[in-house]
């Protein structure tokens, strides 16, 4: 077994940054985000001349449609009548850094997962003062899911039995492409898409799921698990074969719908993103099939009401009110329509109109076989470093 201390060496500063990042994610993303120094800060809306209070919410693209609905509906409620809600789409890690740096002067922040929370707190501590989070709540839950075109999934399943990281790796290595997998030669080579682990929460989660699958482990992955030679051989081979990388899960799914099986045969994304895509895909290229990894991971879509110096008292109150609206039964039922599992326990996941009732034919299901614990900080560091080396 390889000693994980024999892995890639980092500078002291790099190590420090990684340590902060690893509380949830990866230094690669952190570094990448540092390049965005255009200096054009996103101005915080202020109380307008009309007497209305304007707030801005930074959010992950996977919740776009639900939050757009909420931003439109909230002002129609008595609590939101004097509030306008602006939305700012940001990757989870991108949002963390931009808020802490004060370039995104927002009042609420809702990334895909709470892994970015530690990055945010660390950055905030070094660039701002005080406790930045006034209140935090989990809005919804989403596991990860493989998405394949139904026609091609049938051929894939015939060949390999099931979709998992091992069979995907085999398909990617197949020199004859689909012709040798039992499909049509004109389908070309098997093409797998992932969110870039250096940029997105879902990309990093994917790397962790690869390791969890390989070791069949639901307990927290250790650096030794990641450094194991057999796993590294499997991981490097798979990483080199991935066909396309996208900056976010939302943009990757959109590309799959727009460009069809010509561009991606399969990708791994949030369950909610896949649910939203099902109808659109059918209007373009045909049906999609969802397949859950045997070991999965929960993304918990936290909402952080911020205690930022640029927020007025009215804006803080409006943000709290907006959060309360998002957790209301009405909003939670609406979230369910977009494939987000309600964070409010009183809203049943199998209620009327729920996609979890209506889309079972596509593979959508409530039960998740097994969920793994978050990997250790060093394990994530090694996964990301290995990924970057392989690519």
């Amino acid at each position: 077994m390889q000693d994980h201390h024999e892995g890639p060496r980092l500078t002291k500063i790099g190590r420090l940054a990684f340590t902060l990042f690893i509380a949830g994610c990866g230094f690669g993303a952190y570094k990448l985000l540092q390049r965005d120094k255009s200096g054009t800060s996103t101005a915080t809306p202020t109380t307008q001349a009309t007497g209305k209070t304007s707030i801005t919410i930074s959010y992950g693209s996977e919740k776009k449609r639900w939050l757009e609905w909420a931003a439109a509906e909230f002002p129609k409620t008595p609590e939101g009548a004097n509030t306008t809600v602006e939305l700012l789409s940001r990757g989870s890690l991108e949002g963390a850094r931009a808020i802490a740096a004060g370039t995104d002067k927002v009042h609420g922040w809702t990334p895909a997962g709470s892994l970015a929370r530690e990055v945010f707190l660390s950055d905030w501590a070094s660039q701002q003062s005080g406790q930045p989070i006034a209140r935090e709540e989990m809005l919804a839950l989403s596991p990860m899911v493989f998405v394949m075109w139904e026609e091609r999934h049938a051929v894939f399943a015939q060949k390999y039995g099931e979709v998992n990281f091992e069979t995907l790796s085999k398909a990617l290595q197949e020199p004859g492409g689909w012709g040798n997998l039992g499909g049509k030669p004109e389908w070309g080579f098997f093409k797998l898409g992932l969110s870039d682990p250096a940029k997105s929460n879902s990309g990093l989660t994917t790397l962790a799921l690869m390791a969890a699958h390989f070791h069949g482990k639901t307990q927290s992955l250790s650096p030794a698990d990641v450094a194991q030679a057999e796993f590294q051989a499997f991981f490097q081979k798979l990483a080199k074969s991935v066909t396309g990388l996208s900056p976010s899960s939302g943009s990757m799914m959109k590309e799959m719908i727009l460009k069809g099986p010509a561009t991606y045969d399969c990708l791994l994304t949030y369950e909610s993103v896949a649910v939203e895509a099902l109808a659109s895909a059918e209007g373009r290229w045909g049906k999609l099939r969802l397949v859950y990894p045997k070991i999965n991971f929960w993304n918990d879509h936290p909402f952080y009401a911020l205690n930022a110096p640029w927020a007025s008292r009215e804006q803080r109150q409006a943000t709290e009110a907006f959060l309360k609206f998002l957790l209301s039964e009405t909003a939670q039922r609406e979230a369910l329509k977009y494939g987000l599992r309600p964070g409010e326990p009183s809203v049943p996941i199998l209620g009327q109109g729920s996609p979890f009732k209506n889309l079972t034919a596509s593979g959508l299901r409530v039960e998740i076989p097994a969920v793994c614990q978050p990997p250790s900080a060093d394990a994530i560091l090694n996964l990301l470093t290995g990924w970057q080396r392989a690519r």
Binding site: K37, K254, L258, K259, P261, R284, W285, G286
Partner: protein, 579 residues
């Protein structure tokens, strides 16, 4: 896809390295590339500032790839008419500026037109520009979300009867079929259709156009007999070069614009091209052409193809403030909304809004198939693309250009002769060593050849000296000179080269003794039964007979240009992309 775009980007940088030998840094190379696209892509001046706006309006400049000009014009007109407002009450007015995709991004990089929004035809250009922006300014080119406005795959456009002869629509066709037809000595006769003559194929110049680059990569895939990523070893195979050269022999001519091939096919029919590499939307909208000789269909190559995906975003520069960004995003949202997307669909584009299904006219009735393409070709590494372009340059269909230059006395005015000489020299510089050139200066009395059939591999200097020594005097015997050049080009036509006449004239024919316009048109007119050399005409200066020169160019399926001393060199450079 990101890595694919980066590869293309590096390739574009490479291309400039080969054509701009004094440019060493990648940044400068990128600048050169973008400038080239700017020169080639657009003749319209788009750099002038917007006219002053009333205080209650905010003006947004939108620089975009001209492939979607019809759609953008329609939806922008309705957007502007709707009087959409910012929260501060200002009415948003968008000024669309169609141009080449390279120029779209160059306007931001060079800070010339200072657009607030841009949308080139392909993400390739954005990736290219983002890299350059970071290198030059240390800041991204665009900010916030980037929208895919519309999409269209690259296809092989073919006349329906010809596609049917190959087995369409039941049989999957591709680049391999193009190779078979292009390399067959029998042409269409080999498929029992001798009346269709030789297989005539068209793609754009790969050093100037994305679809041209895609075409030669696809041809090399076919020549190498593989759909996996190409390698340098593949390019080194003698058989690959041989097969590429054989395929290129079917090319009628090259060009800088994919749109040109579409228009040429619509107008001239199978006599001009049996097939050309176009975008799907061009095939779809061809059905609206009033005089389309036959229906066109899209062949989605079974080996794979590429997408044109029209990305759009807000420019990340100081001239784009919060108000401009807000106004620009409202406009982009308008373009993404269902009504505008349905307008795009009606014009043959696949909607970028995933909620709008792909439907008619992306259907069989319009020569398209919404379930295609089924796969894409892998974009090779930059070194391989570099090698592919080198290979193509050596094995492309070479040319014999007959340059007929008006040297009548009027050419001495405004130094027209001097600029024409420079243009002619520019044309020579763009030609390959394997190309040949002949020059016929003419006035009222003389039509002696300055030189004939010089190979540029070993006679470039004498050819340039002869061009540089031309001077103006006497009258104009345009028809006699053209007949002479055309006759010489016919004799060359069977030598496996692209034979074409380039004629520049600044006045009316007043001295021809042997040929009239009608007689000349009878002689040069190209038909399916009587193919002949193309004539590219330049109506030079205010007194040039544009109508006459246009008739001459159209009779030969060539192209007519109008210019003056300010743009004559650019015109010559654009003509060079056909060879």
């Amino acid at each position: 896809m990101a890595s694919s775009f980066r590869t293309i980007l590096r390739n574009d940088v490479f291309f400039m390295k080969n054509t701009c030998p004094n440019f060493g840094s990648p940044t400068l190379l990128v600048c050169c590339l973008l400038a080239t696209f700017a020169l080639l892509g657009c003749k319209k001046s788009t750099t002038q500032p917007a006219s002053p706006q009333p205080q209650n309006t905010i003006s947004i400049l939108f620089a975009y790839g001209s492939e979607k000009e019809t759609w953008i014009n329609q939806v922008t007109e309705s957007f502007n008419s709707a009087g959409r407002k910012l929260p501060d009450g200002r009415i948003i007015q968008v000024k669309p500026l169609p141009m080449g995709s390279g120029e779209c991004v160059e306007q931001v990089l060079a800070e010339t037109g200072k657009p607030h929004l841009i949308s080139p035809a392909s993400s390739v250009f954005l990736k290219l520009a983002e890299a350059d922006s970071l290198a030059r300014k240390g800041t991204p080119l665009l900010k916030g979300d980037i929208e895919t406005l519309v999409l269209s795959p690259v296809v092989i456009a073919m006349w329906q009867p010809m596609a049917k002869a190959l087995g369409w629509p039941g049989k999957a066709l591709g680049w391999g079929n193009i190779e078979s037809l292009a390399t067959s000595k029998e042409g269409w006769a080999g498929l029992g259709k001798p009346q269709w003559g030789p297989f005539r194929y068209g793609h754009t110049h790969p050093e100037y156009s994305n679809s041209g680059l895609i075409s030669i990569l696809a041809e090399i895939h076919a020549a190498a007999g593989k759909t996996q990523p190409l390698t340098l070893q593949d390019l080194a195979q003698p058989n690959v070069a041989k097969r590429l050269e054989a395929m290129e022999q079917a090319v009628a001519h090259y060009g800088s614009s994919t749109g040109f091939f579409g228009k040429r096919m619509y107008a001239a029919g199978p006599a001009a091209f049996s097939a050309a590499v176009l975008y799907e939307n061009m095939v779809v909208t061809s059905r609206n052409e009033p005089n389309l000789p036959l229906p066109l269909v899209a062949i989605y190559p079974k080996e794979g193809t590429f997408w044109s995906d029209h990305p759009a975003g807000v420019v990340n520069r100081p001239w784009v403030g919060a108000a401009e960004e807000a106004a620009g995003r409202l406009y982009l949202q308008y373009l993404m909304d269902t009504p505008a997307q349905q307008t795009a669909l009606a014009l043959g584009f696949r909607p970028g809004n995933v909620a709008v299904p792909v439907a008619a006219p992306i259907d069989a009735a319009h020569g398209a198939d919404a379930t295609q393409p089924q796969t894409t070709l892998p974009t090779p590494e930059a070194t391989v693309i570099r090698g592919a372009l080198d290979l193509w340059k050596r094995h492309k269909k070479h040319s014999h250009v007959f340059l007929a230059l008006d040297c009548s006395g009027s050419m001495s005015q405004e130094n027209r002769m001097g600029f024409a000489r420079q243009g002619g020299l520019d044309l020579l510089r763009q030609l390959a060593p394997e190309d040949q050139v002949s020059a016929l200066p003419f006035n009222h009395t003389s039509n002696d050849w300055a030189f004939q059939g010089l190979s540029l591999a070993n006679s470039r200097a004498p050819a340039e000296s002869a061009i540089d020594a031309l001077f103006a005097s006497g009258g104009t015997a345009l028809y006699d000179a053209l007949a002479e050049a055309h006759e010489a080009a016919i004799k060359t036509g069977s030598s496996g080269k692209i034979a074409a006449v380039v004629v520049l004239s600044d006045g009316a024919d007043e001295s021809s003794a042997r040929w009239t316009l009608n007689k000349l048109l009878q002689k040069i007119t190209v038909t399916a039964e009587r193919p002949g050399p193309r004539i590219f005409t330049i109506a030079y200066g205010a007194n040039a007979k544009k109508d006459v020169l246009t008739r001459i160019a159209e009779a030969t399926q060539g192209k007519s240009y109008t210019g003056g001393t300010a743009d004559i060199r650019q015109i010559f450079r654009e003509i060079s992309t056909f060879f």
